[in-house]
């Protein structure tokens, strides 16, 4: 398990090639963020059930025109407890998200891993990628070692749009924060708008989470979990060989 090449790979006893992907702080932040998001989504739904209607503007109550309505009922039995859990994990998410972003910026990982490489933005490559995604093909060769274009876009949107947007719209709903930072409402257009935007961004995050989970299942659930826990990602032998073949071809 100690053999390694210039790419930082190593060979397992079974002959599979493992590549080191995630340093410890990425793995820690990933799992803290994942746990927080799951619990925030669940408690968020319970909080929403206390008034399952969403409005636009400053005000809204039963009888006002709703932007989105899930019904005309109130279920507030677990509202208080859900709020405590929600804010607990809001802290975890805020801290793990901020430390992840800061570390990633400091180490130049944003540019290295999230900014698309030149060949990835060529139309032919985009079309090919799109086809592979539709056919649910698992990437091989060079593409097995880097994030694909859509993955990069998705991760960047989550990191720089969804999570900051969710935290800001959540803070806009806080009467204490809003008193000190009324400009938040210029950003979101009113308290009920902030609540609606909070919901829409959280729904987008749920959508990302489901697709992300589906992709991990597609590529290999066990390996996905292992790679994010130990840092080592397995490149199946076949794919690793394909890659060396391709590299040989290029030279």
């Amino acid at each position: 398990m100690t053999e390694s090449n210039t790419l930082g790979d190593r060979q397992s006893e079974t002959g599979q090639v493992l590549t080191y992907r995630h340093p410890p702080w990425v793995r820690i932040c990933h799992w803290l963020t994942a746990i927080s998001i799951i619990l925030l989504l669940i408690t968020g739904v319970v909080i929403l059930l206390a008034h399952p209607r969403l409005y636009w503007g400053e005000d809204g109550f039963f009888g006002d025109p709703a932007f989105i309505s899930f019904g005309h009922f109130e279920y507030a039995d677990y509202l208080g407890a859900s709020r405590s859990v929600h804010f607990f994990f809001a802290w975890v998410l805020g801290l793990s998200g901020t430390s992840y972003a800061l570390f990633a910026l400091a180490r130049g990982r944003i540019r290295k891993f999230l900014v698309p490489e030149r060949d990835q933005v060529k139309p032919a490559h985009i079309v090919a990628q799109l086809k592979e995604h539709i056919q649910l093909k698992v990437p091989t060769g060079k593409d097995a070692r880097r994030y694909n274009l859509f993955q990069k876009i998705a991760y960047s949107v989550v990191l720089f749009v969804l999570i900051p947007g969710i935290i800001l719209s959540g803070l806009a709903m806080s009467p204490s924060v809003a008193a000190s930072y009324p400009d938040l409402f210029k950003l979101f257009g009113g308290r009920q708008s902030a609540r609606t935007i909070h919901f829409l961004l959280a729904s987008s995050l749920l959508l990302f989470f489901l697709i992300h989970l589906f992709q991990v299942l597609l590529v290999g659930f066990g390996d996905g979990i292992r790679s994010m826990t130990t840092g080592w990602h397995t490149l199946p032998q076949e794919r690793a060989q394909t890659q060396s073949f391709k590299e040989g071809e290029q030279t």
């Binding site: 929403l48 005000d59 208080g80 804010f87 802290w91 009467p175 924060v177």
Partner: protein, 245 residues
């Protein structure tokens, strides 16, 4: 092998968490009863540390006042004493202010109206998720507290209402310019369903902290030292004492 770098990072994490825990435990005025309340305490500490104590909640134009203002929970207290007062048009209503004060007194509605008034158009943010805007008229709590004279050890104010709810607020909220004993709503006397004759307005907290149907005010040294302790009567239902978010 532990590298020097790891030692520095680990060390600062340990020292940082210890400092934060101490700050939270010293700032949050209640006993922390569960890990979740520790998060509430962290929120309270962060808000008290990072937000201006003087910042005013947003005030709106008359045109923004909600046409219908929801009334939930108690809309007419069953309490016998309250019903007697209500039938007398609240003429006999008296608000005792006691505890750590130099001059304990009871104030009638006339007494309160005789003090300088403030009118503000603010948003009521319910914990359920709805919100509504109304114009409120009343006397700022700090004026009433100055009237009775607080003792040096006073640090919290306890409120009790005719419908059985109670809670405690700290001095940052009690002395805030928009914290009022409110007797008027949208230019008329405060309606029964909104807490007549006098309700509290605590504008930088969620609605459940703005008690309706005020019955008594008590000046305290310790937030735990009021009624059953824990800072508010809705704690058994899971509601946070600090409702700033």
């Amino acid at each position: 092998m532990i590298s020097r770098r790891k030692l520095v990072i680990g060390g600062s994490l340990v020292v940082g968490s210890a400092a934060l825990t101490t700050a939270v435990a010293r700032t949050y005025p209640l006993r922390i009863r569960s890990p979740l309340e520790a998060a509430d305490a962290l929120t309270y500490t962060a808000q008290r540390a990072l937000l201006s104590p003087n910042a005013l909640a947003r005030e709106f134009d008359r045109g923004m006042i909600s046409k219908t203002f929801p009334a939930i929970n108690t809309t007419d207290p069953e309490d016998e004493g309250y019903q007697r007062l209500r039938h007398g048009g609240f003429e006999a209503w008296q608000l005792p202010i006691d505890g750590l004060v130099d001059r304990p007194m009871t104030l009638s509605l006339k007494n309160l109206m005789g003090l300088p008034s403030r009118t503000q158009i603010t948003q009521h943010n319910c914990v359920d998720g709805w919100s509504a805007i109304a114009e409120w008229t009343g006397v700022q709590l700090f004026r009433v507290l100055a009237h009775v004279g607080m003792r040096p050890e006073a640090r919290f104010i306890g409120f009790e209402s005719f419908d059985g709810w109670w809670n405690v607020c700290d001095m940052v909220d009690a002395l805030h310019a928009q914290t009022m004993l409110t007797y008027g709503m949208n230019g008329a006397p405060l309606p029964i369903r909104h807490g007549a004759p006098v309700r509290l307005r605590l504008e930088r907290q969620l609605g459940y902290r703005s008690l309706k149907y005020l019955k008594r005010i008590t000046v305290l040294a310790d937030a735990e030292d009021y009624k059953g302790g824990g800072g508010l009567s809705s704690r058994p239902y899971g509601y946070q004492w600090h409702a700033g978010i």
